[in-house]
Symmetry: C2
Subunit: 236 residues, 2 copies
């Protein structure tokens, strides 16, 4: 395939914190780990953890912890977490770790409420960025410009909307690292020709009534994320 880099040695770091959303991490993991020659590190924020529990229970075994990140980081990716993002965003040690990794990563990527963690770590200042629709506005508190798109690229910062957007985000990363042809091949490999059954995947598509119900359901989450994100508190 012309214009395609078939193999490489990219070092990818995916951060796992208690209460992360497994699909936010595993969607991108599929695409990034399918790049021949790349190494994907699953790094726990809790040193020595055997497994990191996600917000819906499924636990993933880390390959190491944040302290064991590789010297070279081509991609840093942070998943969201309906159970854990707010707590993580209020943890200064965790944010300092993210800030350090992000400052030396070739690409900084976040999915869903994971983008708020990037923001709290000071990695989104002045950047256009997206997040889950219910929490996107909170990005402004971190000096980012909330942008209503599924995948937003601003320089070396790439962010994705809620949960399933991680798959689209990762394809954009693959295209950037290996060329469009490689990403086209991975779409076919993953048979990624999605057919949402109901077509209600955004507030605009879902309409006011359903969106209102879900907004009410997520109000406590937004409240806790909001409380954990008082502007430029941590990184000045």
């Amino acid at each position: 395939m012309p214009g395609v880099t078939l193999t490489g040695e990219e070092q990818v770091v995916i951060v796992l914190y208690p209460g992360f959303t497994a699909l936010d991490a595993v969607g991108p993991h599929y695409m990034l780990a399918s790049m021949m020659g790349a190494t994907v590190h699953l790094l726990a924020t809790t040193p020595g953890a055997d497994a990191v529990p996600s917000d819906l229970g499924l636990a993933v075994q880390p390959t190491g912890d944040l302290g064991g990140a590789p010297d070279r980081i081509d991609v840093l990716l942070v998943p969201g977490g309906s159970g854990g993002a707010a707590e993580a965003a209020a943890d200064p040690v965790l944010l300092a770790g993210l800030s350090e990794l992000g400052s030396r990563a070739g690409l900084v990527a976040g999915v869903c409420t994971g983008t708020l963690l990037l923001g709290a770590a000071g990695l989104l200042r002045g950047r256009r960025a997206t997040s889950h629709w219910v929490a996107r506005h909170l990005l402004a508190r971190h000096g980012a410009e909330p942008t209503d798109q599924r995948v937003v690229t601003d320089g070396h910062v790439i962010t994705g909307a809620g949960v399933t957007a991680g798959i689209d985000l990762a394809l954009a990363i693959v295209a950037r690292l290996r060329g469009d042809g490689y990403a086209r091949a991975l779409e076919l490999q993953a048979e990624y020709a999605p057919r949402p059954t109901f077509g209600t995947g955004t507030p605009e598509l879902a309409g006011e009534q359903l969106t209102g119900v879900m907004r009410d359901l997520f109000a406590p989450l937004v409240e806790s994320l909001s409380a954990a994100a008082p502007g430029h508190r941590f990184v000045g």
Copy 2:
């Protein structure tokens, strides 16, 4: 929301075998575990395993093993595995276990090459079913009717195409168990309004050249799946 069952007590079993594809399991897990009140069991085919390694390395911690399946099973779901499905399909003990669970499950579901495991366990005879595009034709060896659709429902048997189709499959299951309104809400929760970057997710969309490249790449996998699927060998 009218016509929606807000809570329930469904017992869901997702089978984890060494070399499974994590996204095949985690996509559906997200949707099924988001059903309030439902319990999702992640059952390893290897008794006593601390974690089950997937084909791309990421390992998931099981909640038990096949021997510890609940008495009532509302959904049995089997993921595919480019590294492990062929080996699993040649393991008579594993197939006997799947056959037993499937015979008493309310819904029997498979994603990607996981549908070939259902076939090898004798659970697809006379059923319309789908699988990953590269291996779909092999379903005929198990007495199923290969069907070129992303999600195929035939009675209590629901099958999905390659990898990412597990998300669509799971939404169909949620709609069946909890009503369309619940599934609509989960589409919005997961912000499932996918935008494949390149639109090459099926052989028809990708065209002959790219499909040929990927078919060559997967030829050894299809060969091994083929060798592990000599018709009605196991379940007579």
